[in-house]
């Protein structure tokens, strides 16, 4: 593995300063994607700015109809948190499906969404729960944050500090995982918010997206049979050695129906 400089940031300001000073530096959170990427030479940062010791990135708090989850919270912590399990059980369940137990003990929410892997799970929760992404510089809606294939709206030197999820009236995530990697071949989060239903899809396209036609159907009635017979067009879907675009489209339809059933079963009325 190529060597790099190492900076342990103690505050968000220190991290921003170190990242701004060196365009080739990368932020290190849990490292569960970044360290394997460096090993494979997919990333060759000049320096790693470790966010692991920044206390301000930690914590989960209820803020009226929202849950504010610190960017440094690990997947296992979110999955086990009593507040998340009570107010957004679909989000807790999603966190408990990421990677494997050891990855969940290190990987973080902020690291996941800043990487924006097209098969990552958290981006689906961010879109379905109308999340607001808090960064070191601003707040922006999730739909403006995820901009494409491994791309986000983060500027150089900007880091994710927290995510504010809307607590849904009902919501669940269903995922068909690659048996080798644990990543989602497709994952669908179905949620019913005060403002209406949302359906977010990960793993199928070049980036997470909302499935508008499914949302339209659910707006007419959030019922178990609302998505019967509905399959998304496969035009922009990924096609690789794991699955063809048409197969992914079929999986989206199945996962959406399963997520809907889960949301209705776990509904808080």
């Amino acid at each position: 593995m190529p060597d790099f400089a190492y900076i342990r940031a103690r505050t968000i300001a220190e991290a921003v300063e170190a990242l701004s000073a060196d365009p080739q530096a990368r932020a290190l959170s849990g490292g569960q994607t970044l360290i394997p990427s460096i090993k494979q030479r997919l990333a060759q940062p000049s320096a790693l700015v470790d966010l692991g010791a920044i206390a301000a990135l930690r914590g989960i708090a209820r803020e009226e109809a929202h849950l504010r989850v610190g960017a440094g919270m690990r997947h296992a912590e979110v999955a086990a948190d009593a507040g998340v399990r009570a107010l957004a059980p679909g989000l807790a369940a999603l966190a408990g499906l990421i990677g494997d137990p050891q990855v969940r003990n290190l990987g973080t929410l902020g690291g996941s969404i800043a990487t924006n892997d097209p098969a990552a799970d958290y981006p689906a929760a961010c879109l379905a729960l109308d999340a607001e992404i808090e960064t070191s510089a601003r707040r922006l809606p999730a739909e403006a944050f995820f901009t494409g294939f491994f791309e986000t709206a983060l500027a150089p030197g900007e880091i994710v500090t927290a995510v504010r999820f809307t607590c849904p009236r009902a919501g669940a995530y269903a995922k068909h995982r690659s048996p080798a990697s644990g990543y989602a071949l497709t994952g669908v989060f179905v949620a019913l918010l005060e403002a209406g239903p949302r359906v977010a899809v990960t793993g199928a396209g070049p980036g997470v997206f909302r499935w508008a036609e499914a949302e339209r159907r659910l707006a007419e009635g959030f019922t178990a049979d609302a998505l019967e017979g509905l399959v998304p067009p496969a035009d922009d879907f990924l096609s690789d050695l794991h699955a063809s675009a048409a197969y992914r489209a079929q999986l989206v339809a199945v996962m959406a129906r399963r997520a809907l059933a889960g949301a209705i079963a776990g509904s808080r009325g």
Binding site: Y6, P36, K39, L48, G99, D100, P101, Q102, L106
Partner: protein, 155 residues
Amino acid sequence: MPQVTLTVNGQAVREEVEARLLLSDLLRERLRLTGTHVGCDTSQCGACVVHLDGRAVKSCTVLAVQAEGARVTTIEGLAGEGALHPVQAAFREHHGLQCGFCTPGMIMTAVDMIARHGAMDRATIRRELEGNLCRCTGYHGIVSAIEAASREAAG
């Protein structure tokens, strides 16, 4: 060069390391704790699992510098004086190892899952073993060993 200070199996450790040094290499090459195995080096197989502040992690996917101030426990730190840890004893009793290569990671993972779940059924154990591979495919005995150890721990 960065310096890292941590506790390994109760012993204070202070080392100058390259930033890129992996925790698995610190343990094996510097501290000669070769019970932690490196199978795939790509965070798939779980042979390198150790406990970092009490949580099971894959030490091939942690930088040594990230363990600053942490408590690390390896397979060498599990047994008491002259007696196997109950999970180690259960692996021996239930034929939980064949070639033995995956065993350190399996046992460190098992100790972590028993601490979180207490007594477990076989389906839960298999789900929790998702991050650990046995190249002998000897899962039946491994699951039996963890099942027995989890019941013993739960009393």
